[in-house]
């Protein structure tokens, strides 16, 4: 019966393929999940939209300002206007870079787009993410993305006999754009050069311990029955089954709990009444865990019911 949940448990092969272990400088392996390529593309899109919107907003302000100044200083108006436009060009040129650097170097460590999709930049070797690495991966973005686009559009605007150059630019763009699809860790060229990768930065809340909940102490609140299991009854299952049991208890779905309780009863030759499955399972979970953890302390581990 438990075999049925086994199949449900190994349902996430794509998720698993993105799992990585990184050893922290303290020597403890931490699990990381590589950010999905689609999520990263979407994060980039969000950032670009925000950048364009901010640039448009600032430009509008500058333009209004310049016009107001122009009206008053009619003699040197042209020069003032020109200076404003020059400053504008430089500012816009630098703005894209500053956007990514400012946010990725800030305390949040991610641009608004990445934050929205729960992504973060991290060092591949588990060590410190250096400022130089962040700078490197963002400089490369210009070469991967902006440059070929400017290249193609400018040659297309110039017209005539530009087709070859435009195609070369497009090929350049495609090579870099699909670079993350051709390596296991979804690195783009900037990540390769900087020694970084983009990982998921999810957060979980600490869930209550099941082994201190209602029926965990062995007594059912409903029927006042005491569930005590003997060595023989606890030794049939291993850690894998314990984890399945934990998941079932946390999901707290009535029919699943009935199924599991019946499966366990059949296995250990018990006959518990219906309606009190949760208390039964909590008691069994706690006592099974106590037994397995005792074994762990003595260096004996039991992976599953077959071992």
């Amino acid at each position: 019966m438990i075999g049925r949940w086994k199949r449900r448990a190994v349902r996430l092969p794509v998720q698993d393929r993105r799992k990585r272990q990184v050893v922290t400088p303290e020597g403890v392996p931490l699990p990381f999940t590589i950010g999905a390529r689609g999520a990263r593309a979407l994060a980039l899109l969000i950032d670009q939209v925000l950048i364009v919107a901010t640039m448009a907003g600032i430009s509008y302000l500058l333009f209004t300002l310049a016009r107001a100044i122009d009206l008053k200083a009619n003699a040197g108006g042209g020069a003032v206007g020109q200076t404003v436009v020059v400053l504008w060009i430089v500012a816009m040129f630098l703005f894209r870079h500053i956007w990514f650097l400012y946010f990725e170097l800030g305390p949040r460590g991610a641009t608004p787009g990445k934050r929205a999709l729960g992504l973060r930049v991290a060092a591949r070797d588990g060590g410190r993410l250096t400022t130089e690495a962040v700078v490197a991966r963002n400089i490369l973005r210009d070469i991967e993305l902006t440059l070929p686009i400017i290249f193609v559009t400018s040659t297309l605007i110039q017209g005539e006999d530009a087709t070859f150059v435009a195609w070369a630019g497009a090929a350049w763009f495609l090579i870099f754009a699909f670079f993350p699809c051709f390596n296991r860790d979804a690195l783009r060229a900037g990540d390769v050069v900087a020694g970084t990768w983009v990982v998921e930065a999810g957060r979980d809340r600490l869930k209550a311990a099941l082994s201190v909940a209602g029926g965990a102490l062995g007594e059912s609140a409903l029927t006042q029955t005491r569930y005590e299991f003997g060595e023989a009854e606890l030794s049939v299952y291993g850690e894998y089954e314990l984890q399945v049991l934990e998941r079932v208890l946390r999901e707290d779905r009535e029919e699943a709990m009935v199924d599991v309780a019946q499966a366990i009863c059949a296995k250990i030759g018990w006959n518990s009444g219906r309606g009190d499955e949760r208390a039964f399972l909590e008691a069994y979970y706690t006592q099974l865990r106590a037994r397995l953890e005792r074994g762990m302390r003595f260096g004996r581990r039991k992976a599953d019911k077959f071992s």
Binding site: E26, V28, F93, L105, E132, L147, I150, A290
Partner: protein, 349 residues
């Protein structure tokens, strides 16, 4: 039940007492530290760094280490999957906070200008020499090609059809391209140049370093060959010094920037071709971080060069003044990169 009589604190203790499992007692004893770390990290993630008390900031690394060691212990002693998942998540988030970038953009820029940039440039030593040699070679090759057969000029200088700078042009025509452009709109020149040729060339020269540096070299040769051809053309009409002045006012900065970009590309290419004892990706990463610093500087140099070209050259119409400005810039850059060595700066990468 008992918890209600004794209040919360006593209740917690009672819970610890009552916990059936040793791993649960372990968890309950440390949960306070985890929750505190969680709260600190949550505030950091929210960008509310200023609201953190000094106490919390000081405690962060210690709390992080506690959480990491709790995780290591829990993996060996506890079978509470939810607890281990939580600790892994908490340790990961705290790791981001503890091992994240230590300085913001402002602090990095300060360090960059006060020595980081020049240190990165110096660290590329041999690549600078190679790139300089390649550029000189390119200029000579361009000159020789065009003097051998003037038709080469058209393939080296891809100018528009209205460009008057062609072989056979008269001295007056050529002279006119060098002086007397004050009435032109400096702005449009500026914008055109800023985003044209040079910024792109240098970025591409850098980017192509990936292919073991070979394209970087070819690109440097191609671009300096055009320079050689131009020199030949003006030399033929006895205008060498005037052309050099016309080029030097911004060219010392611009060609220096292109030199740095080509060297940065070579630096990455060389690290990938000859990684030594490191894995290729590690070698590329180390070289890439150093080269990227240099490239930040290159972009800034090119902005400056465009300003000099767009405004300076149009406003200053005398060869000597142009030469003085160009020479001063060159001396300044050399002093900044090679003579300026603050002791405190560590070499990046």
């Amino acid at each position: 039940m008992i918890a209600r009589w004794f209040g919360k604190n006593a209740g917690q203790e009672a819970a610890v007492e009552a916990a059936a499992l040793r791993s649960d007692r372990f968890r309950q004893a440390r949960e306070g530290d985890w929750q505190r770390l969680d709260a600190i990290v949550t505030r950091i993630e929210g960008g509310r760094l200023r609201k953190l008390s000094d106490e919390d900031l000081v405690a962060l690394p210690a709390l992080y280490r506690t959480a990491v060691s709790s995780l290591a212990i829990a993996r060996e002693t506890s079978l509470d999957a939810a607890l281990i998942a939580y600790l892994e998540g908490l340790a990961r988030r705290a790791w981001f906070a503890v091992y994240g970038p230590r300085e913001g953009l402002g602090a990095w820029l300060r360090r960059f200008f006060l020595g980081g940039w020049s240190a990165a440039v110096r660290a590329m030593g041999i690549d600078l020499v190679i790139a300089l040699a390649v550029m000189v070679l390119g200029t000579v090759v361009g000159w020789l090609l065009v003097s051998g057969n003037p038709d080469w000029y058209y393939s080296l200088m891809a100018g528009g059809s209205d460009d008057v700078r062609v072989p056979g042009a008269s001295r007056a025509v050529l002279l006119h391209t060098l002086f007397g452009q004050q009435d032109q709109n400096g702005l449009s020149m500026f914008a055109a140049y800023l985003f044209s040729n040079n910024a792109q060339v240098s970025l591409i020269a850098f980017a192509l370093g990936f292919a073991f540096g070979v394209p970087s070299v070819l690109l440097l040769i191609h671009n300096t060959a055009g320079l050689g051809a131009l020199l030949w053309l003006y030399h033929g009409q006895g205008l060498t010094l005037e052309l050099v002045g016309w080029l030097a006012i911004h060219g010392t900065t611009e060609l220096f920037a292109i030199l740095l970009a080509g060297a940065a590309g070579l630096h990455i290419g060389r690290a990938m071709a000859f990684p030594g004892e490191q894995p290729v990706l590690t070698a590329a990463a180390v070289a890439g971080r150093r080269a990227a610093q240099v490239m930040v500087g290159v972009v800034l140099m090119l902005v400056l060069a465009a300003l000099l070209e767009g405004f300076g050259r149009q406003l200053i119409d005398a060869t000597y003044a142009r030469l003085i400005i160009g020479g001063t810039m060159l001396a300044l850059w050399n002093a900044y990169f090679f003579a300026y060595r603050p002791a405190r700066v560590r070499v990046a990468g």
